[in-house]
Subunit: 146 residues, 2 copies
Amino acid sequence: MDILQRVGVRSASLNEVYDALTTLEGLSGWWTTDTTGDPEVDGIIKFRFGPGGFDMVVREAEPAKHVLWEVVDGPEEWVGTTITWDLKQEDDYTIVLLKHEGWREPVEFMYHCTTKWAVFLLSLKQLLETGTGSPEPNDLRISNWH
Amino acid sequence: MDILQRVGVRSASLNEVYDALTTLEGLSGWWTTDTTGDPEVDGIIKFRFGPGGFDMVVREAEPAKHVLWEVVDGPEEWVGTTITWDLKQEDDYTIVLLKHEGWREPVEFMYHCTTKWAVFLLSLKQLLETGTGSPEPNDLRISNWH
């Protein structure tokens, strides 16, 4: 089972969106301010949210086009899943397609993560369009699960 | 293939959230201002967005708990799919679980609808928490596809 998302970013080039997905500065501007590690291919990026977080190995990175991460540590529902980013230009927008693939069960946490991914994609859009995103701990809280 | 979403609404009872899903006034306060039809069981609700829209038959409605719609007209990817709402209380929140079930293919429109569903669920949350939602035509535009 997969989570799929699509947003369009105005006034940002493919390269600018790619940088927001492949540099620590970019990632910490829209997902979580506590982002460390090595964002190069085969590197591990560590995303931390309060007490928990995710470790991702960067498996693929094609400039201005495509990124693939594999989750190697974090909540058990996430470990082994992959997150694929595909970028393309359409009209005045840079289109971002996200696929979070390989969920084993449609658990309630998957419902939560779907809505929360949308929130973070809107944070990414906002970062690129206005210069300021809403990464955790300033992310929009959507429920008792944050 | 399904789209799953979860939000929590503060300061609203199960009945208030249920009303926002089962009355024309409620629905037009968070999804689209152009909502007409019959929101009772076996009735057809007509949701309109600009030139297009969806017609849903209300198949199930259990007060304060559960609603199920079947899409009978609209974009071909939507026709035949079902939308299930389940409500429950947790901590200080009324939890809303949405399942949009029966997509035949993971088309790009499904990516878009996932992100857009999240936007409308946040509008539902905002309506119930503040008294004002952001239904179309005042909904947040997320891309060239609106």
